[in-house]
Structures are given as structure tokens and as C-alpha cells.
Amino acid sequence: MKLRDNEPLRERLAAEYVLGTLRGRARRRFEGLMHDDAALRRTTREWNERLGAMAEFAPPVAPDRRVWRAIESRLGLRAAAPRWQFWRHGSLALWRTLGLASSALAALLLVTVLLDRPDTTRMSDIASLTDEQARPALVVTADRERGLMTVKVVASVPLTAQQALQLWAVPRDGKPRSLGVLGADRQLTLPLPANAIGADVAVLAVSLEPKGGSRNPDGPSGPVLYKGAWVRLM
């Protein structure tokens, strides 16, 4: 294909690139060609100006005020919400992404878990909860079939007798849901409620709480120490 001399073809490919109907290998090849062809970049930009204006056909809708607050917090444009109120920082989307990106880590973890747990064939989901330096601290596994989940502490977490760890499911919208409280035990098996693993759960989090758990029914009262997202295994 001699693209350089074929003006109608250049126009058409640029237009379909912007429209989105140029797909897959053809799209990547076109991007490669643009890289070395300033005129083709300009043609594509012109099409982006022409067709991009279609975006304005959608009726405007005023977004909720929380969106601006989340943007402000993320960019540090005003005093941020208290650090433990992590779900107000608006970075759930980012965590979800991180959760997906770390499925390789989860797979590694699975190997470890498999080694000391022979009955993992029933495990349907796994979440690795890590600290701020991305070091794994807890592994949560779910068994959808039997409706059970197991929380296992894999790092040394120093707790006094008055302290406990509380596990939360943080949905994309709304308040965190408490899943259970972990005291001195290193491992705990809990019932798996549907709202712990539904599609709307963005992330799991563990907060440091007084013995017995947070006094606040709407969320953690102490700092969030660990967080991580579910990875579906089967």
C-alpha cells in the first residue's frame, strides 16, 4: 500500500482512525505511519477537530459536587480529607486499576497459599491486601460456592490487646461495609455476604480499630493500614 501518494486513502484512514472504526492491526499500523509522517498527523488532527465536535451533541448534565471535591483532593488544591477517610479521596478508580494490574502478584500469592492449604480448589476469588509500600499483609480468599471467606495475616502486624483489625468492602458508591473484625487470631473464616464481593465493590480495606471494631457504623474510625482488590480466579 503506497499511502504517501494516495490522498483519498490518507483522508479516509485518518477519518476512520478518529471515528474509531479503524481497529486492531490496521489501527496500530496507522499509528506507526503517523509517527514518521507529519502531514498524516496533521490530516488526523484536522479530522479530530471535525468529528470531535460531535462530542458536543450530548446534552450537558451538571455533575454532582462530589466530583469537583474529589478532583481538588487528588490534586491537593485544598486541605485534603483526613487520611483515614480514604474513600473520600476519590482514588477508588485508581485502586481498581492497581488491583487489576496486580493480578500477577495475586497469582504468585496463590502459589504460596496453595502450598500450605490443600483445599484451595474451592477458592473462587483472592485479594492481596498490601500496605503503602505495596508489601502484602493479608490475603483474603473467597469461596462463592460455600459462601465463605478466609482472612489470613501474612505479615507481622503488631497489635496490643486493646486493638483489632477490621475488614471492609468499599463500594464504588456509598459507605464501606464491615465484613469482620480480626483480633489476636492470624486467620479467620467468615460468612461471605453477597455485598462483600459484588461487582460494585471497588476495593477491600483493613483499618486499625479498638478491640471489637469501629464504633462508627458508617466506616472505619482508625487509620486504613492495608488495601487491595478482588481478583476472580474461576
Binding site: 471515528l19 465536535a53 462530542a55 458536543e56 450530548a58
Partner: protein, 194 residues
């Protein structure tokens, strides 16, 4: 042109974008106030779900703040620059949710209303002159051709996706899109020259 700047006045938007590039918070806030409803409307149209559209709007403005210095006013209208960011991000989310199989119902609904949208865009007065010109040129296309173009643009669909959704032969869809794009090009060029 009226003397009072409309919310989509490109000169004003460009000035605010340049302010954001200098990390001027006031300018960034003004840019958000002026453009967020339109950008959110776009994300909502693509995704059909509020929480996903809010996520996209947030991500987009974080990106706009970080990349405002890269905006080249000679190359792109400010609204086009921002809508391209929002559209790309919305498509990322669309692909993610499609692969999770979550979105079908709302997407079907959004697709139904697309034909109307392309035919009678909301509040022309609020649109940039480029969008008004495009709306006029799209109005001159045949209804089904316009529908096919709008569907591809707003829903990140391939030729075969469009063909399947409209139960049309693939070759027909390809021809319609090719022909529509050529007509839009001619129509917009003629208006530009006038």
C-alpha cells in the same frame, strides 16, 4: 457573536487552560465550571451510568490539570482537546466494563436515543461554532447513515459491531461510513470557505 462570553467561548476556555498550565487554581476552577456539564454529559452518553461517568470526569480533569501545559492552542480548539481526553477515557472504561459484561442494558438504551441525538443535538446555542457546523452537515446526511456514524463515534464500535447491532451487511456499513465521512468533509470545507 455576542459580547458576553458564552460558556463555550473558545478564547475564554483557552485562557483558563493556559492558566491551569501555570497551576492557577482559580482558572482551573473556572474551566471546570464552564466545561464540566458538557464533558459529563458526554461521558454519561457513552457509559450510561452515573458512577462510571463521574469516575471518567474526575480522571479527565486530573489529566487536564497535569497536561494543560501540553495543550497547543494553534493545533486544537480547547473544547475538542478536552472532549478527546474524556472520550478516550470513557472508552477505556467502556472496554473494561464490557469485558466484565456489566453494561449491556444501559448501553442498549443509550444506543436507542443516538439517532435522535445526531439529528437534533441539544441546545445549539451552547455549542461551539464547529459543533454547530458539524450538526448542520450531519443533518444533510441520510438518517440511517447519520445513525451509523454517531453509533461508531459515541460507542467505540467497529464496522462489524455496528453491522451486528443494526442487522445490516458489513459491506453496507463500511460503504455508508466511507460515504458519510466524505460528505461531511465536503460540507464542512464548503462552509469553512464561505
Amino acid at each position: 457573536m455576542s459580547t458576553v462570553a458564552a460558556p463555550s467561548d473558545p478564547t475564554q476556555l483557552r485562557a483558563w487552560l493556559q492558566g491551569a498550565a501555570r497551576h492557577d487554581r482559580g482558572a482551573f476552577r473556572a474551566l471546570y465550571e464552564a466545561s464540566a456539564p458538557r464533558l459529563y454529559g458526554l461521558a454519561l452518553r457513552i457509559l450510561g451510568r452515573r458512577e462510571l461517568a463521574e469516575e471518567v470526569l474526575q480522571e479527565s480533569f486530573v489529566a487536564i490539570w497535569h497536561h494543560a501545559a501540553d495543550y497547543e492552542s494553534a493545533l486544537s480548539a480547547p473544547m475538542t482537546w478536552m472532549t478527546t481526553i474524556v472520550r478516550n477515557r470513557a472508552f477505556d472504561v467502556l472496554r473494561r466494563t464490557r469485558s466484565e459484561g456489566e453494561l449491556d442494558a444501559s448501553e442498549g438504551h443509550a444506543l436507542e436515543s443516538l439517532a435522535d441525538l445526531a439529528a437534533t443535538p441539544a441546545d445549539r446555542m451552547q455549542m461551539s461554532s464547529e459543533a454547530q457546523a458539524l450538526a448542520d452537515c450531519m443533518a444533510a446526511l441520510e438518517d440511517r447513515h447519520r445513525e451509523v456514524v454517531g453509533m461508531a463515534f459515541f460507542h467505540d464500535l467497529s464496522h462489524s459491531d455496528v453491522a451486528e447491532k443494526l442487522t445490516l451487511p458489513l459491506g453496507t456499513v463500511k460503504t455508508w461510513i466511507r460515504r458519510s465521512l466524505a460528505r461531511l468533509h465536503a460540507c464542512l470545507s464548503a462552509r469553512g470557505a464561505a
